[in-house]
Symmetry: D2
Subunit: 371 residues, 4 copies
Amino acid sequence: MAGSAFGTVFRITTWGESHGKALGVVIDGCPAGLELTEADIQAFLDRRKPGQSKYTTARAEGDEVQIMSGIFEGRTTGTPISLIVYNKDQHSRDYSEIASYYRPGHADYTFDAKYGFRDYRGGGRSSGRETIGRVAAGAIASKILNELGISIICYTKAIGGISISPERFDLSVINDNPLYMPDTKAAEEAGAYLDRVRSEGDSAGGVVECIIKGMPAGIGETVFDKLDAELGKALMGIGAVKAVEIGDGTAVSSSKGSENNDAFTISDGTGSEEPVILKKTNHSGGILGGMSDGSDIILRAHFKPTPSVSLTQTTVNKDGEEITVNIKGRHDPVIVPRAVVVVESMAAVTVLDLLMRNMNSKMDNLKKIYV
Amino acid sequence: MAGSAFGTVFRITTWGESHGKALGVVIDGCPAGLELTEADIQAFLDRRKPGQSKYTTARAEGDEVQIMSGIFEGRTTGTPISLIVYNKDQHSRDYSEIASYYRPGHADYTFDAKYGFRDYRGGGRSSGRETIGRVAAGAIASKILNELGISIICYTKAIGGISISPERFDLSVINDNPLYMPDTKAAEEAGAYLDRVRSEGDSAGGVVECIIKGMPAGIGETVFDKLDAELGKALMGIGAVKAVEIGDGTAVSSSKGSENNDAFTISDGTGSEEPVILKKTNHSGGILGGMSDGSDIILRAHFKPTPSVSLTQTTVNKDGEEITVNIKGRHDPVIVPRAVVVVESMAAVTVLDLLMRNMNSKMDNLKKIYV
Amino acid sequence: MAGSAFGTVFRITTWGESHGKALGVVIDGCPAGLELTEADIQAFLDRRKPGQSKYTTARAEGDEVQIMSGIFEGRTTGTPISLIVYNKDQHSRDYSEIASYYRPGHADYTFDAKYGFRDYRGGGRSSGRETIGRVAAGAIASKILNELGISIICYTKAIGGISISPERFDLSVINDNPLYMPDTKAAEEAGAYLDRVRSEGDSAGGVVECIIKGMPAGIGETVFDKLDAELGKALMGIGAVKAVEIGDGTAVSSSKGSENNDAFTISDGTGSEEPVILKKTNHSGGILGGMSDGSDIILRAHFKPTPSVSLTQTTVNKDGEEITVNIKGRHDPVIVPRAVVVVESMAAVTVLDLLMRNMNSKMDNLKKIYV
Amino acid sequence: MAGSAFGTVFRITTWGESHGKALGVVIDGCPAGLELTEADIQAFLDRRKPGQSKYTTARAEGDEVQIMSGIFEGRTTGTPISLIVYNKDQHSRDYSEIASYYRPGHADYTFDAKYGFRDYRGGGRSSGRETIGRVAAGAIASKILNELGISIICYTKAIGGISISPERFDLSVINDNPLYMPDTKAAEEAGAYLDRVRSEGDSAGGVVECIIKGMPAGIGETVFDKLDAELGKALMGIGAVKAVEIGDGTAVSSSKGSENNDAFTISDGTGSEEPVILKKTNHSGGILGGMSDGSDIILRAHFKPTPSVSLTQTTVNKDGEEITVNIKGRHDPVIVPRAVVVVESMAAVTVLDLLMRNMNSKMDNLKKIYV
């Protein structure tokens, strides 16, 4: 009920605070027989760890993952996989002042309202470091998806209003720029924008886009736990996300049915054994009636600017006095580039969970396994 | 796992198809001692029932609710409340042709992909009539929220790109126009647009906005089951919704931290016993770190145009042939006006569930009840 | 959280009170493609309905089930199956006196303690009629199990200390006596005992035994949701059950390891394609480490005597006065015979749910469905 | 779904294997504001750790717990509490032979059947060491219960058929004998029995009894998630438990209603402000209709003898050959004494979870917190 778990079959429970001993995740429900090493997980964690560029916090963390359980002789055993990352560079002294007031845009006030007090060191549980557990679990989910022929591509679509161009869209350059944009020119412009924003003591937001390829049709539940509903929850549950779109997203509200409907067609069967049903367009973003329709699934998350700005702000302290503050510390001027792998991980966990939930959708499936 | 239930403490399970005998909902976890009659629920159902204006389907349904259990001597007993609405005007003959092909924009193909076959009569389970159960449950959730001092306002913000104007915004006129817009002029323009769209055999989308007033601060869980995450799931799980926004929504991605942060301040205490913490602005839409921050909660759902258009469309039949179709039947040219109460209901259920989940957040609460 | 649902994948939610309009169940997660008619369900309900013999209450109820949703053209669609049984012979006037005091052995006092008041008509929600929903769901679960080669046998093992004899054990006579005992002589003795008890205004308890045949090995989760743990919950959750045993049950506590361990052996392969692992004995009752071991699963539930006796009893009224009462009404002198099908139904739902949960236990299974 | 989590509001997830790096538990849903130190938890773990007497395995483990998260300045924060115990004395070489065959009475065969292979070192996940996580969580649950005025007493009632005597029953001597029996003479006799059994290379079973004092009336859900149902699951889910009894347990099946019903009465009010409802007897074991009735809750778990006996046994190896084996290693001749704290812990977690679930049972409770 406390909400630190996600997923129903492939179920992850994260724990840990920014300045506690460690952070981690327990994955309950990972199928047995998957080859898995710490390197598989580390590759994902390295994409979110701090200090990769001038646009990310200077906090020095290796974020090395240890597998504590659930793997035997290189394969998952079907029992819970416990993963731990120890905190190293905690600098608790930096945060003592913050204890006395509520930072605008942060969860300080709401944590106090809910629990009566809070671990104020580095944001405690509301720190971005909580996503370590999500990303570690996402690495495992992604590996399973790959074995089922499903892959996820995720990148920065826009920063501070500077968006990638459809004409220059090039997935091969994502890792060549520190902003993970599939458009070198947009990355340069966004970089210049970030330099300016940072020099002003301010911060920027942005958009992450995610494409899931290879999903079989019919995945997702039909009423509340729709594929888009679960993805919506997964992405909206990432700190700083304030909007989520599927396919054409907000644009659908001003579209007409004749424009928005995607016509079905039949593949010519070239290269495959039998013709399959396809769509001529993909306004739906790969989801119809809450289930995958066989096309690419397309989603976007809109991130607000990092609330930690060094500009002077007005707020309230715990004595009920209005004060002005200048927040110091090691903060990212934009979290979007590091959030790319978080979005990808949450998408992976969500999609895998729904694939696993779908195993029981029809009698034929039960008979394939048991009869 | 099949996903026809929503909520964890206040848990609703809907059932029923467009052309089955009846539709209904079971509410498990409603607290005992709430005064409740069928009239309380009917008032909500009447807001979504068909035939209210020329913009809604002509299907003749009274949608009369019956309480089957869980109420004794006018009050909830704490046991499951079962609510039923019998279908009357089913017209199954209208749908026989549809069985043979996949309608663009509908869930026909995905249902077949998931389950191997489908109830094709009126969309079966994917029909908008499924929301009867949601709205009936929402009526009860809303009544409980009202007793706790919380109210929800919901209206049409835009149709087909025609949006209400902040200057003319007037909640008192919502029920004076068939589109439930708080702006008479916008409603007239949108009506004219709908007339045109409908005459072309086409359909329109739109935006529903929802404001939750009176929420105490600190409601929502801190990691995955954030208030915004759960609201995101609730709204994205309504058929035809393709985007969900909280507060400034998509606009945050091009905003700066200094603009987006809401400064905290202290009320002057006029009219209340002690000063309370407030925010000077509400870009956050009333949610910080996944918890309510004491301000109004603001959310928006973007609906795609009704996929049932009478214009000629290309699709595929069950024999794997590409065909053209003209879909007949009684369809809404826009579902947004009838969706207003659905959004309101899902918001009510979500918020109440999180309030109930929060009862255990601190030892002080346990002691208030048990010591 | 209110606990009116059972199961995680094959999930049933029951609703209804003894003297409300109706009782029912919603089954969410039934796989699509199962042939199902009302007759399949009615056969189970007829085994629990009142008035079958002099040992059951004279309340006249046909307990006719109606399928409200989830079936199309004779097969399950994968969407929720809603089943309803309307109450007919409610006799509410019989229960007006009971409102004023707490019947010993009943849930009157505890309902008031929990909810502040109660529906006192016929026990309200705590009535044995609540099991209608369980039995209706059990009929469906049993049909699915049968298609997977699994069958459940359930019978009365003892009444009032009079137990069936291993020497006379004969499954073919279960339906030939009103007590559902697989031993004609024991049934006669128990019948005579019941006649005596009833004439004294008293009541009797008994034991129901259940054997599940054909379970594949490896079903059940390994830690908390063990097969025996879930069966324990399922059976202990039936009203009046005060003890549950698996295999040798309570006898194991005075046994030695050398006696209690079941030796593994190999079948000679006669009649099957390849040798399979068997056990020479079955002290374990078919469960090892919380998972099915391929042997018959054996469990027993111990039922307390019906608390409604017509003998004079001491109790307390709502004014806090100690009083003596003589409870009138139509009560079963023993509920065990009618409970047989309830035990069978709960066992069926539990076992099916764990079979469905197990679909994801290994990568091989996922690949069988998706690759 | 994989079943390594227990509880719905106070939710614990255990992880770890006998010979992995560590074992642990994550507790999600612990209320904020509880004072908690590692010493509180260690006191419970010390009661289950090996090497306390000649009746327990000689494996040398300090079982020192570390709190990794969820505590700040000595109090719980409301966020997940992660607890870890590192394994030290793993002796993996002892178990290499066991990999090749299935030990009778153990979970070797069923693990292979479920997952395709297993971690065979020391039983892997099915080892008794898995209960470390349960006991650590139980320590926290017990501390919370104590703050609410609820306490749990747990002890060995019988070993190998040698039971405590009601006449000699003395709670003060429980910790004076290595078997945790509240009867010195029975403990001596049971000790002599164990010496004999052990010298024969055999093992013994026994019974653990648990009394929960101070429970308010009305706790437990009314249909499936009854207090006794949840306790039944909790206890049956402990390895080696084959039967669970509540109150008079198996004896009820041969009792009459007039004997089994507990008469209600009114306290004289001496020492308390107002008269309260009591029962004159407690055959029900403190539970009526699945809810606590205000009396002591009484339950018993029957444990089978340790399956690891050094006597020669027949079994099957992975090549499908029948073989005889003599199992070596460090095993407890009886697990009952160490299981006492496991039963107590599971009872504590179960009862606390239901208390927390009950917070929402009536409108009055919601108003106490929110209005």
